[in-house]
Assembly symmetry: C2
Homo-oligomer: 224 residues x 2
DNA sequence: TGCTACTTTAAACAACTGTTTAAAGTAGTA
DNA sequence: TACTACTTTAAACAGTTGTTTAAAGTAGCA
């Protein structure tokens, strides 16, 4: 069973790769429910039953598709952070953010869209998958961020990291923002808006505000 | 047909309200596809055929559910902004952001989750619905933001507004961030993290960085 | 060649999907 | 009471869903 020279012929591996490529494309574009097994099988050019034969169930296939994209992306993130910390005396906040956010270089555009998709599936599907896949990476970056932002409280930093992820996922989800004017789509410039994203989240992570929102809101509402 | 005293008895209106309440709850929690018409009908306590009778199709019901939540929320946003601009000589960036972000006071928690859900459905479903419902509100706030942030270029500001929306949706989607440590969920403090969100996006909107990302990345990558 | 383990196939399964239909029910009007 | 317009109901429609099954196919080994 574990003898790799006898089991797993070349055809089987190729089949599994074809299935994964097709499912990543369809899951990332349509989401879990609308991407049917038959659609995936057709796009992969394989028999329908092979999906269940090789991956067990649709949910397993979804998780496998996610890990197929998330693992190399997170590995690259860690690699960039390692490289940064071993080569530079004092990594800047910007450099750390870039190492986390610039995931487009790994795989194709569908890979990051696949990850973004998992974040918005219903909790039963996404929660267990996400926590296992991302905790180590998030922990590493949190530590790195704490070093360059010692003045930010730990809980505040975690939330700001959370917002960073939200901005990034939103950028991945939409190739362009909801258009504000009538005349078509805006030009996103170079890097698909990544440079603007970095500026934004660096500003957010560094934000100084510490007044509790509730006080300000009360004060503001009393104006009227 | 437009005679309101004859058509639309009380029972019919009640039925439609029950259907809308149930569909908002199920659509917001499960998304479009997994929330079946039968599930919605059961939760509303009405006959299955009434959903199509009153709303035409599932997609129409989805759109109606969205508008049921989005319209009052956007109205409240505009109202707060109007109030702000007519009562205060120079509204601060923080006040404008709060007027946009503090949507929890309208309806219940499902309302904002319903809106967040539409943003992550597939493009065919969400794109036309979103643009029509949000363009006026986004335009108004964009103008208000431009006034307090004259130093930020228009396109940059639009993108930063885009990231603001992403952070907000992410906060709505997750009641708590992916936990970074083993010991359960973090405490989100008062206002469900809204105060932290405001600090973060205000910092991001004010961010000074204007160096193009591509240059920095090249420089950074050459370090290794 | 016969044997074994693995892979692929077409067909079928039961359950569920959104939607429609025709009939029954309801209430106000003439 | 008969008439009208509107609402509700149970049942059925045709199509799709994920998954399973039994048979056929394939390749390496004795």
């Amino acid at each position: 069973m574990s003898d790799s020279s006898r089991s797993l012929r070349a055809d089987s591996r190729q089949t599994q790769e074809d299935i994964l490529a097709a499912s990543v494309e369809l899951f990332s574009q349509k989401g879990f429910a609308p991407a049917s097994m038959r659609l995936i099988a057709a796009k992969a050019g394989v028999n329908l039953a092979l999906l269940n034969y090789h991956f067990g169930s649709k949910l397993n296939l979804f998780e496998a598709s996610f890990l197929h994209c998330a693992a190399p992306i997170n590995a690259e993130r860690i690699r960039l952070l390692d490289e940064l910390e071993s080569n530079v005396a004092d990594p800047t906040l910007e450099q750390i953010v870039i190492a986390f956010v610039d995931v487009g270089a790994v795989g194709d555009a569908n890979w990051s869209r696949m990850i973004a998709r998992v974040f918005v599936e219903s909790d039963e599907i996404s929660q267990p998958i996400l926590e296992r896949a991302f905790r180590p990476t998030l922990q590493r970056f949190k530590t790195a961020l704490q070093r360059v932002l010692p003045e930010v409280e730990e809980e505040t930093l975690e939330m700001r990291f959370h917002f960073l992820v939200g901005s990034m996922l939103h950028l991945i989800r939409f190739s362009s923002p909801l258009k504000l004017s009538e005349n078509g789509r805006k030009n996103w410039g170079p890097n698909n808006g990544l440079d603007e994203l970095v500026n934004f989240v660096v500003g957010g992570l560094r934000a100084g505000g510490s007044h509790p929102f509730s006080d300000r809101r009360v004060a503001y509402r009393r104006l009227s």
